[in-house]
Symmetry: C2
Subunit: 330 residues, 2 copies
DNA sequence: CTGAAAGCGCTTACAG
DNA sequence: CTGAAAGCGCTTACAG
């Protein structure tokens, strides 16, 4: 075992309260006492126990970060932003994957609550609704990434997703495409998904019909993007452009085109979303909607810190800008 | 605040010990008592406090994971393996980045220790030596990724890095290359780095001279790989093949070649290391040394769990196989 | 400037 | 099968 406050107090010949004071650098301490205590501290290698402190202060100096999947290149950037901002505040963060599964999310939230996290940042599944507030400790703030939630104790950091969709569709339309499909997005959220809504609105604004069969949900990973695209293009060969839910799906879509003997962008244009690292290095380089993922994470952590500092204040959603990055795939 | 053991006990009309028993599913409890207590628990929404428990059991059910940088696509795969294996054991994990900086690593280790983590998995910087054991709590196990450490309380999960280097160099040599440089790797570890040692040995085995100026360290990121390669190829145009420390550096090297008007692999072959996701999608697709990163993480967590279960047992290093994946860049 | 008492929410022996 | 006491390592009022 490691040394305790009492050990130090005994060694320095003072009360534990005095040791606590110098360890936390608080209260007035005579210089001689301080030095004696400091000596005892370093001699014993004393390290304060945050768990003991947490029991009385009800603050653990930890937060939880629940992501879809750290293996999706979008998330490490976000996580890095959160982690850097957390470290600057001397907060440690539990990182958890949900795979977009509600039950798993709820269990994770439960577990984090039992561990006494001070707050949570979550990129929620599309099934997540009122459960969110219920699953967590009632008095712990939550920051939600990219999902509107109007509820006390919850703040949101949003991306201008529908604007991103509009930028993508406008661009494809300007290139002369009239048969533009959308691949990807949670199957459970086909109707309410912001990216899909933006896509529909943008199509309409160009006088293009919205064909619901051309909105093809799939899991946001490469393999599913590939399969979904193969099916889609096989069934509707007239499609000449694909707007993908994210870059992973876009890469899958490009693979699908290659499988089907279609050259991208000549025979089929593909636009992605996120601008993940390496999006500029794949073949062909992805035209995609960029969002500053690191900054998104950083702001989410900043917001959570604000909520921690001002528990009763209400915070407006934060909005992250997007931009279209034109490369080779469209 | 959320309900406590005492609240439940009061409500159910039993002692807190009895509540503790049913909450932890231990000891013999009469069925009627159990039901009464269960009812009180769900009515009050009681959730046990892991921090209070930790104070007495000295186990927090948390571990720390210290990585170089979650933004390097190698690490999310490893992290996912660790996280999945941890979740299966109901352990939560603090994820931290070190950026290969020893001071930061030590601070992080310190912080994790104060939080009372049960153990740590670390992918250490090359400066990290004896400090590792000293920085952590003396009785907490540590699993080190890919660095030999012979020391009680520390286990290692290794990749066969030098074999990977040999595979790469053998392949390049078989293709007729005789001027093979190595780019990347921690500047501080130029001499002892396994990958570099394997490279030197392999060169020698083919009767090729080892030119120390052609071993060019740089930070393991794309931009540095690019710059280092530009310098190298400008100064020694006779180089026709590059063995990169990792795939990020390899991608940077390819960009450098393009900048210099060299076509890969025709004018300069490039072999990477890791086989990160998307390594098969970049242009040209990377020939690289693959290691199962997810499995690496999973085994690291398994090993840590074993150490937790058997504190006095000594564990042999675990070795991860590597294989050369031949694609287009070499 | 310093200390003694109480308590955070649990579990661990030990009794009954 | 159930309970009362002590204690994990700290901090929070409250005294002096």
């Amino acid at each position: 075992m490691t040394a305790t406050l009492r050990d130090v107090a005994l060694k320095a010949g003072v009360s534990i309260k005095t040791v606590s004071r110098v360890a936390n650098n608080q209260g007035e301490i005579s210089e001689t006492t301080r030095q004696r205590v400091q000596a005892a501290i370093s001699e014993l290698g004393y390290r304060p126990s945050k768990v003991a402190r947490a029991l009385v202060t009800q603050r653990t100096d930890t937060i939880g970060l629940i992501l879809g999947n750290i293996t999706n290149p979008f998330f490490p950037e976000v996580a890095r932003g959160v982690l850097d901002a957390a470290e600057a505040r001397d907060l440690n963060v539990f990182v958890c994957n949900s795979d977009g599964d509600l039950q798993r999310e709820l269990r994770t939230l439960q577990s984090l609550t039992e561990h006494g996290v001070d707050g949570v940042i979550i990129s929620p599944s599309y099934e997540m609704e009122a459960d969110l507030r219920a699953g967590a400790s009632p008095d712990r703030p939550i920051v939600v990434i990219n999902r509107p939630f109007d509820c006390p104790g919850i703040s949101t950091v949003m991306m201008r997703s529908s604007e991103g969709s509009r930028l993508a569709v406008d661009y494809l339309s300007a290139k002369g495409h009239t048969a533009i499909a959308m691949v990807g997005g949670p199957p459970s959220a086909a109707r309410k998904l912001q990216r899909a809504q933006g896509y529909r609105t943008a199509l309409a604004s160009h006088g293009l019909p919205v064909v619901e069969e051309w909105v093809r949900p799939c899991l946001p990973v490469r393999g599913h993007g590939r399969e979904a695209t193969v099916e889609l293009l096989t069934r509707w060969p007239q499609i000449t452009a694909i707007f993908a839910y994210n870059d992973l799906v876009a890469i899958g879509a490009i693979e699908a085109c290659q499988t089907l003997g279609r050259v991208v962008p000549r025979d089929c244009a593909v636009v992605g979303f996120d601008d993940i690292p390496l999006a500029d290095s794949v073949c062909p380089a992805l035209t995609t909607v960029r969002v500053d993922k690191y900054e998104l994470g950083r702001r989410a952590m900043d917001r959570l810190a604000q909520m921690l500092a001002s528990p009763h204040e209400t915070f407006q959603p934060l909005w992250m800008d997007v931009e279209l990055v034109i490369r080779q795939s469209a």
